[in-house]
């Protein structure tokens, strides 16, 4: 592996959802509530964060792979902004403990 490839792979984090049973979903009119059983915390999420969780599973995925799944399932505008937004939301979900993040 060249130095450049090595750097790239370590800079691309991957994300993985926890067990489906960990979360109880409840739709409100404008937001999605998630009760996280392991922590006992209630989270209130705005789009597109709930959609990200929906397309994720126990497999490790990069933000780009998650974006591809999202675009296949939902009506998402393509563009550089979209990928940045998805990356930012994934980082937030990881910080909340709703998904796991692993360095690539």
């Amino acid at each position: 592996m060249s130095d450049q490839n090595f750097r790239l792979s370590t800079m691309t984090p991957k994300y993985r959802a926890g067990p489906k049973d960990d979360l109880i979903w409840h739709e409100l009119d404008s937001m999605t509530l998630l009760f996280h059983r392991p922590s006992g915390n209630t989270h209130m999420l705005a789009d597109p964060a709930p959609a990200l969780l929906e397309v994720m599973d126990s497999g490790l995925l990069t933000a780009a792979e998650i974006a591809t799944r999202l675009k296949a399932r939902f009506d998402v505008e393509s563009g550089a902004d979209t990928d940045d937004i998805i990356s930012a939301r994934l980082e937030e979900l990881a910080a909340l403990g709703l998904i796991a993040r692993e360095a690539g």
Binding site: I24, H26, L28, D29, S30, M31, L33, F35, R37, G40, T42, M44
Partner: protein, 289 residues
């Protein structure tokens, strides 16, 4: 240890033992709770203790420290003349910090035709006064402090403790409630002037009867009269803030509260007088399913 006097009280589903170093607050409690049954057995859910702040203060400028199963370390002691207030605050504290059988909402509630109107809001919103006033006008009083949301059925259980009237509300209620239902007036307490009002006898006799929640209001006193729709997200967040045990109940609390938000029509209500509020409430109630 010095001798403690005690009294047992049943209020809705909760049984209390109030133990006090002095007789006076317990005599006042016994008089005000004269219509309430005692606990059916000798088991109580909570104990509240009214004790001298320092041993010598049992006699010299007596000062009441509130203790019990659950307590706040920084609760300031009250003068003995406010011992009744200390007992009521102690009972509220036990419920707020210790009750687990219902989701507790800091709210007042009244009932008509088996359906409950729940009013929640910050201190000063008028929720307590409105419930006391409606109780004089054909509604059954269910509580002015906590609405108890049943985790399984979604019903509201009554908790009709003494109504704690503050400042101007004392005068307003004296015009409509019988004089023999009022406790002693306590002036210059940490909460202002306080006078307790015994709920109507029918409310006490029926304190074991729950009611289906039919309308939730967020009253706000001092603004032009108006009813406003609220988004579910705002309602949910404000109810978690109004609940003292939402976090402690975990998944059961989440399921009970989400069902409540889904099922109960909700409005924000601004008003400037009790009469305005009554009119708005009656208008909403006549249209509620």
């Amino acid at each position: 240890m010095a001798e403690m006097h005690q009294i047992r009280l049943q209020i809705g589903p909760a049984a209390f033992r109030i133990a006090s170093a002095w007789r006076q607050p317990l005599d006042q409690l016994a008089a005000l709770y004269r219509d309430y049954p005692g606990p059916s057995d000798h088991m109580v859910d909570f104990t509240v203790r009214l004790e001298p702040d320092k041993p010598w203060r049992r006699y010299i400028r007596p000062s009441v420290h509130i203790g019990g199963d659950f307590w706040l370390p920084d609760a300031a002691p009250l003068p003995l003349a406010q011992g009744l207030l200390a007992a009521e605050m102690g009972m509220n504290l036990q419920m707020a910090l210790g009750w687990r059988r219902h989701l507790l909402l800091h709210a007042s509630s009244v009932e008509k035709d088996g359906r409950a109107l729940i009013m929640t809001g910050l201190s000063g919103s008028g929720k307590s006064t409105l419930s006391a006033m409606l109780a004089q006008k054909g509604w059954r009083f269910m509580g002015d402090e906590f609405a108890l949301l049943d985790l399984d059925t979604g019903d509201i259980a009554p908790f009709p403790r003494l109504i704690s009237l503050k400042n101007q509300a004392i005068r307003a209620m004296q015009t409509v409630a019988p004089a023999d239902r009022f406790g002693p007036e306590m002036t210059d307490t940490p909460k202002g002037d306080i006078r307790h009002l015994v709920p109507p006898k029918a409310a006490i006799d029926r304190m074991g009867e729950p009611a289906r929640p039919a309308l939730l209001l967020f009253p706000r006193f001092g603004h032009d009269p108006e009813l406003r729709d609220m988004g579910q997200a705002e309602i949910f967040v404000r109810l978690t803030q109004a609940s003292t045990n939402y976090v402690a109940l975990g998944e059961a609390g989440f399921r009970a509260l989400t069902r409540f938000v889904d099922q109960v029509p909700t409005r924000a209500m601004d008003y400037q007088s009790i009469e305005q509020a009554e009119e708005l409430i009656e208008r909403l109630w006549s249209r509620s399913p």
